[in-house]
Amino acid sequence: MSSSLAAGMQNIQKTYRDGTVALKGVDFTVREGEIHALIGENGAGKTTLMKILYGLLKPTAGKILIRGKEVNFRHPRDAIKNGVGMVQQHFALVPDFTVVENVVLGSEPCKQGVVVDYKSAVEAIKKLSEETGLHVDPESQVEGLPVGVQQRVEILKMLYRGAMTLILDEPTSVLSPIEVEDFFKILKGLRDKGRTIIFVTHKLKEALAISHRITVMRAGKVTGVVNSEGSTPQILANMMVGREVELKLEKKPVTIGEPLLEVEDLWVRSDKGLFAVKGLNFTVRRGEIFGVAGVEGNGQTELVESLTGLRRVEKGRVKVNGKDVTNAPPNELTRVGVAHIPEDRHKRGLILDFDLAENLVLGSQSNAPFGTRFNMSLETIYDYAQEAIRKFSIVAPSEKVRVKYLSGGNQQRIVVARELGRNPDFIVASQPTRGLDVAATEYVRTILLKMREGRKAVLLISSDLDEILQLSDRVAVIYEGTFVDVRKPEELTEEKIGLMMGGVKPES
């Protein structure tokens, strides 16, 4: 492994137009011929940093050097010209096209500059396949290929264009354990042939197994760079997760009651058809907040959707208050007493062009007291809205304002007001404080605790560890569709959680 740098990023900063700071001055170097892992939680900034390296994003400040030469990437084209290629988490493939068409798109070999020379392209692909072990059938249609094979196509795309430095963003998230073995063999092969690999992941064991060096990021900064040899998951977990804990909210002791939610052997598929939830078993009782922590993409979304009537349960059972509600539609779940604070309030939770009052009654518009099947009592609805504004401390010019003009925090208050206003027994809160300012965050968390004191049950899914630790009575960490473990928050340290989030069950 040489000591010359394949790529160097100096003091990279990235601030978006709306003010969010994604990167706060990051230095990142990769040596030629090494496999370098870049790890961190969600929101740490790893993907943002790599998108900058690949020319998809422009840094607000900072320098990029490729092999010692300063470069200015305006588009991935420029990056590729300099030998840098990236395989993103969401593939940039045309499903309708064949492998060869996808590989050559944009860099087509042509006869007389017009007709695509597929024959030579197929030859080239076959040669690359031989060399690297990335076997694909060039003539097959991408749509029908398993995700693992599609990934190979993406990599071949980069190699075909002569990429010497490959950035892979969470590549093993679409692979089974056996495929991961083969994949690592291929990576080592690529490295032996002189290529440099940057491996973005949250999986600690894999990072240690495959890489030479590891860069750890947290909240837009680099917290450390270590050699894999001599490092342990514990050390990495600490660097990944350690943070100051915010104000501790008051959590009163509550007697835990009978089970409200019972999940038995739950199996749910993701959009891609693979199982995202693999046989989950758990119970949430009255007076309890059950927190589910974990890096996004490990099945949380599918779990939530299966419990709120938005996704099919393939196998297993869901019971609320003893009643079997497996695959029940949203309005039936509401009737049984299930409330849902969705993770994407703009898509699922609110109708932005409706006003505050209209959003408050979504789902109850034809029920008493808001109305009957044929008539809505607008007066009751608007009065109720005024009440809710007061009760839930919503800051809004009036109950007639269109929700899209309100801040994220106030929008979330409306969602909370609506869901909790129905006096539910069981609340599914999915990333409930995402994108909210401190005051709103405080508010939502306090409400959830109040629910707990009122002997309701809460299922809290959050990628914010503070939140999970502060609010939950029990914490489960989800990894690849199952719970790595379920513990009491007192028993957990940041290091232990970091381990679990990376797929490792801690000893003690």
Partner: protein
């Protein structure tokens, strides 16, 4: 929002003015005559309102469809079927007037809604895009009613293909004599308020609006999206059908083959200019009705034919297509994703 409509209309007028000038006439004179012809005296105003009547109804129909995110280009066909069924109800059956009139209107509703049902179901069950299906239904409706008129209900003494008159109990009486303004205008006004009430105060209206703005959130909120969507289409078709009945029972008192000079398409312009709002549709319909009725006079003075109005409408619609960009794309994409996921 209002600004955008006014802007589109203004630009349409400017374009119209250019066209008039290109034909060798003064736009000022032409528009002046147009305005006078539309609003100059009581009879003119009556004519304007008479011209507006079918447009109010098709405009309402298209507006309801737009509200739920659907393109009902089939207003024309629904208008024809509604008109013909109203004719049948008025011709074949005799009843006392107070019962007969609601009865024939009901026939029109069944006709219009029924004609919208097929495209609605095809969209919901098979994902067939409603633009193409409704346009095909238009042509089929025109040919079907043409056939029925020519081969089964032809008035032998008539110079153009039309049916005999309906029974007098089914006729909508004229409001202003010697003009085209019949009680169908009142029916149209009633419909405006019914639609207004539905959209604002009925849960169905709430759900239609929700489905149009954010079908994902609506579904999540327990709204039976597909069902509501189909009902919305049926209402849209029913309104257009009533529009056809209005012309058949009020203006002509019989079914005239190919009687519509494009009321269905004017309805699209009305809905767009009126921003899918029932009151807006009423005003927009009167506006376009004024254009058509004034165009007759404009023709006498400037020889500009009334089809010019259609051209102006077209330009207004094109300008109306230019959006508050972000909002429209996000909505369109959301809709697409939603229906694709089915």
């Amino acid at each position: 929002m209002l600004m955008q409509s006014l802007l589109a209309v203004a630009l349409g007028f400017v374009a119209g003015g250019i066209m008039v000038a290109a034909a060798g006439y003064s736009p000022v004179v032409a528009y002046g005559v147009l305005l006078k012809g539309a609003f100059g005296d009581v009879d003119s105003i009556a004519e304007t309102l008479a011209q507006a009547t079918p447009l109010i109804l098709t405009g309402l129909g298209v507006a309801v469809a737009f509200t739920e995110g659907c393109f009902n280009i089939g207003a024309e066909g629904q208008l024809f079927i509604g008109a013909f069924l109203a004719f049948l109800g008025g011709y074949l059956i005799a009843m006392p007037a107070p019962i007969h009139i609601p009865f024939v209107i009901l026939m029109a509703i069944i006709g219009g809604a029924g004609w919208a049902l097929l495209p609605a179901i095809l969209k919901v069950k098979r994902g067939a895009h409603e633009v193409v299906t409704t346009i095909m239904m238009n042509w089929i409706a025109m040919l079907l009613t043409s056939y029925l008129t020519l081969y089964h209900f032809l008035e032998p003494t008539a110079s153009i293909p039309e049916t005999p008159i309906v029974n007098s109990s089914a006729v909508l009486p004229l409001i202003v004599p010697r003009t085209g303004l019949s009680a169908s205008f009142l029916v149209a006004l009633i419909c405006v308020f019914v639609v207004y009430y539905m959209l604002k105060r009925m849960p169905l209206g709430y759900e239609i609006r929700a489905v149009g703005l954010n079908p994902t959130a609506a579904e999540y909120g327990g709204v039976a999206v597909s069902k509501v969507w189909v009902i919305g289409m049926l209402i849209s078709g029913a309104l257009c059908g009533i529009g056809g009945a209005g012309v058949t029972l009020g203006t002509y008192r019989r079914f005239v083959d190919r009687f519509s000079p494009g009321y269905g398409f004017d309805g699209i312009a009305v809905a767009l200019i009126g921003r899918n709002n029932p009151i807006g549709a009423l005003l927009a319909a009167i506006f376009i009705g004024a254009l058509y009725s004034g165009a007759v006079y404009m023709r006498l003075v400037t020889h500009m034919p009334k089809e010019l109005v259609m051209a102006i409408e077209g330009i207004i619609i094109i300008f109306a297509a230019i959006p508050e960009a972000n909002r429209l794309i996000r909505k369109a994409i959301e809709h697409w994703k939603f229906w694709r996921a089915r």
